[in-house]
Symmetry: C2
Subunit: 413 residues, 2 copies
């Protein structure tokens, strides 16, 4: 089966008018994409298993009782996301597994390990928080109960949503299972979501490390008043305070090249043209390669909150609800990936990942290889997201090389 044709088929599930996809975690569209993947996996000879947080695995069982090389990404998307984010990685894993299975079945190779393809539940964290959910539960860094109890804005739990689409495992009498202790190594490929590869012209990115992130919930409480009659000096405008926070959080990055911040999900009210808002809530993120930058920025952030409180008479409640430590990826895996690129005739570039990926969760417990393909124009979380066909094919070739090497047994158990 032609990879590009398969990708087109998958991209039609939850397709948006803008050329992207809306396949939020455990939505009807996510369910359809999962069914599509499950059918392909079965067709290519895999045994299906779904775990208790909805992660969908296709197991290629070549050697009895052997542990697994695991590969995959996620089919869920942002509300108006691109076609490539996550889905490309799942499909590349599927295509690589199909090739390797063909080699095994035809006697060309006799791998030491079995291979498993995975679609992780809710990587995006758009509908349910936190992000990177399914892989975090799989590695044991997020409690299963917390993940299943996560609610979307309509009040639905992830558990109910997964049940509704038929992907809440484990099934009674499942033929096979997989847990983190069965995994020898993990490999994932993803579109870069930036323009570093496009700028240098490299075919493949090999990820050497991941940035740290601090994420905050912020709530501002002022006082409702009249947009006309209330004197300017007497107002306690939560929206004015929110604007001060937004510009202040942006200004934290000034003069620091490797430091990204953002404010999103602003909600301010009550919403009436003549009422000064008394409540504003928002989500704040700080991301940098080292904790030192984030720790310094957090001090500045808290100073900003103090000045908002004293100067705008608006009460501030700020909670760091999440953080991610920086990490380096498996050094031997980086060398392995470079060798594979050389063998496949692809140029490669070492870089860090700024955004979160399921591989970050896996990298904390097993040897992990993370690969990027170029993103044309650097678009990310946007329906304009694009990776060109030759880059898509190069990525599949590269991932196949890496998985072949891993399955043969470069990692000792």
């Amino acid at each position: 089966v032609d990879f590009l044709k398969s990708f087109e088929e998958l991209s039609s599930i939850g397709a948006t008018a803008e050329g992207g996809v809306d396949r939020q975690a455990a939505s009807e569209e996510d369910g359809l994409a999962r069914e599509w993947l499950r059918a392909r996996l079965i067709e290519y000879g895999a045994t299906i298993t779904v775990d208790s947080v909805g992660n969908l695995f296709g197991l290629f069982l070549w050697t009895d009782d052997a542990p697994f090389i695991l590969t995959g990404s996620h089919l869920d998307s942002q509300p108006s996301g691109g076609r490539f984010d996550g889905a490309y990685g799942v499909l590349a894993s599927l295509a690589a597994a199909q090739r390797l299975n063909f080699e095994v079945q035809s006697g060309v190779s006799a791998p030491r390990y079995n291979l498993a393809v995975v679609d992780w539940t809710n990587e995006e964290g758009a509908r349910f928080q936190p992000s990177v959910m399914g892989s975090s539960v799989f590695v044991g860094s997020l409690p299963l109960g917390e993940a299943l109890a996560s609610r979307d804005t309509s009040g639905d739990t992830l558990q109910k949503a997964l049940q509704r689409i038929g992907f809440l495992g484990p099934e009674a009498g499942a033929k096979a299972t997989i847990s983190i202790t069965d995994v020898v190594a993990y490999a994932e490929i993803h579109v870069e979501q930036g323009n570093r590869l496009e700028t240098t012209g490299a075919n493949i990115g090999v990820v050497t490390g991941s940035w740290a992130a601090y994420k905050y919930d912020l709530r501002l409480t002022g006082e409702q008043s009249h947009t006309g009659a209330t004197p300017m000096a007497d107002r306690r405008d939560a929206l004015l305070a929110a604007a001060t926070v937004i510009l202040g959080v942006n200004a934290l990055t000034h003069g620091i090249p490797d430091f990204h911040t953002s404010v999103t999900e602003l909600d301010a009210g009550p919403k009436s043209p003549n009422v000064v808002a008394c409540l504003a809530s928002m989500h704040v993120e700080l991301r940098a390669p080292t904790l030192a930058v984030l720790e310094g920025a957090e001090v500045q952030l808290l100073q900003l909150m103090a000045s908002v409180e004293s100067e705008l008479a608006v009460a501030v409640s700020i909670t760091r609800q999440w953080h991610r430590a920086p990490a380096i990826y498996w050094p031997a895996g980086v060398v392995l990936a470079k060798d594979c690129a050389d063998r496949a005739g692809l140029s490669c570039q070492f870089l860090e990942t700024i955004s979160g990926h399921d591989s970050i969760a896996l990298n904390s417990v097993v040897p992990t290889v993370m690969l990027f393909t170029p993103s044309s124009g650097g678009w990310a979380h946007n329906s304009k997201e694009l990776t060109l066909d030759p880059d898509l094919n190069n990525g599949v070739d590269m991932l196949t090389e890496v998985l072949r090497a891993l399955c043969v047994g470069v990692v000792e158990t």
Copy 2:
């Protein structure tokens, strides 16, 4: 009937846990308040008529074919409004009419004009826009069709909402009607919504003029991107642009004492923690005693929009959807009110109204008297809104004096 007890009764309709009311225009609660008022008017001897935009009138018909002195305010409120805004004026009008009717019925006075009490539809402009709607239609400055077609956020039209609560007139075979050509003069009392009277200790405010206002719809269009991976310099963050606008609009007032601005109803999206917002919309208001200030500020506002477009790469669409010219109130009415205050033993203060009122619509076509009672703490559009009992009673006495004088015939037709 004791005025304060009546006011307590009315305040229980749509009462909120915070001690305010939620009686948005043409809501079920507004309907209940209207029914309550209609019953009181009938009980006190008035003939009821409802016009085609839902304004509810109680006519005290003392002299055949005589024109009317009109008095009233509005029963609708902000989503979490105070008990006094509007409702106090309607109830004070009702109480004054009851006293004057008693005087007429008992032969103490023989007025030249009839008296009408009115509850204007949708003064607040919270659920349906624009504000000051019913009185504007009544004086002919807002087309009826436009008012009835106004939609709330759920898509309901005012027409449907009025029908639902049974206050879309005129009724077939109504006993009496009233139109602007029947009105000799208008008088309204309202809580001040600021702290000028509280500061000076005056019992009554007599309004000499109204501020000008410009109101804008503003829409910012950036580009959706990734809060992690997208380089800061490549983002086109609509929420960052909105924050720049909010602070810029606030800064317009710096150093200008009589100039109020506000940004409200901010909506930004898409709402996902990891997505840089590409759309933001908001409502912007500028208010000042003279057009010169607003015209100057508008030039600055447009400069701000141009700098947002060039510096943040976010497209701006701004529409001035509404403006209100400044006005002076009927000078002879101001003198009349001062005389009435003296007669009632109340101290009075001349001041301008900053916020919009139904009296502004009436003042553009008929002699109009506008009175304020003190607002304790200056709270407005807030459930903490408060006018003390003695001030409530003073206001009713004052309005009664003014209406008695008007009914006797100080204004020539």
